[in-house]
């Protein structure tokens, strides 16, 4: 039965990857935490002087860190801290709800650290914040509360302490 459920998941992952109308339909019918107000923090200086931090929900982590929990159907609301100067062959992805074949070959498909470093060397950004904060998406049920009330504010505080002046986020 486990194999059958894995196969079903694999097929769903491919369907949602390639049939955008299916994803759109899911989005219309799924319940989200919807908002009216929108938080806003204005940019204080040009991007070439701004320290950029990266946050991802693509399930990236260091090979030495514990993987995200794939057994809980509501996902894993925890996060991993990855040094932003990491050698990209030291990271991996644990996430069974999207096809990360391409990102396994080149992590820049979901976490463009090499591209960001190039921009830093060229002086097109002010710098790169020391830590990447990495989550897995696909959070639902009781974990949404944990994400919203504990993990997200914690990461926001850490980003501020890191000296991040703008944050770039990538999904799965």
């Amino acid at each position: 039965m486990a194999n059958l459920s894995e196969l079903k998941n694999t097929i769903l992952v491919q369907l949602f990857k390639h049939a955008s109308w299916l994803s759109a339909r899911w989005a219309r019918h799924h319940r989200f935490i919807e908002a009216e107000d929108i938080p806003w923090a204005p940019m204080k200086k040009p991007i070439r002087e701004t320290v950029i931090a990266v946050v991802t929900t693509a399930g990236v982590h260091l090979k030495t860190q514990p993987p995200f929990d794939m057994d809980d159907p509501d996902g894993d609301p925890s996060f991993r801290v990855i040094p932003s100067d990491v050698q990209t062959d030291r990271v991996t992805i644990t996430h069974k709800y999207y096809d990360h074949t391409a990102a396994d070959r080149d992590i820049n498909v979901v976490l463009p650290l090499d591209r960001l470093r190039e921009l830093a060397v060229e002086g097109r950004i002010g710098g790169i914040a020391p830590s990447v904060y990495s989550f897995m998406g696909h959070i639902d049920g009781p974990h949404l509360k944990t994400l919203m009330e504990e993990m997200a504010p914690e990461v926001a505080r850490r980003l501020r302490a890191d000296g991040a002046e703008a944050v770039f986020l990538t999904p799965a």
Partner: protein
Amino acid sequence: MGLLQRAIEAEGIPTIGITLLKEVTQKVKPPRALYLRYPFGHPMREAFQVDQQRTILLDALKAVETITEPGTIREPGYRWRRHRFRLRP
């Protein structure tokens, strides 16, 4: 991801997120988004396509610098050209 983005912005740090699902972004309402019609798993497009990855990153940084209206979803309109309909074993 939009929820995380909103929490970071609420802490006083400007944010920009890539989105592959405009319908979700319209509901969750992050402060700034860059929408790409790419398959899941490909927010920066394809492996080893340095020019595309760089262009998308620069577009995102430009967006965080220039968007002034909260909730803006910017659409560069790049098309995904190569479809692969293979199932993984």
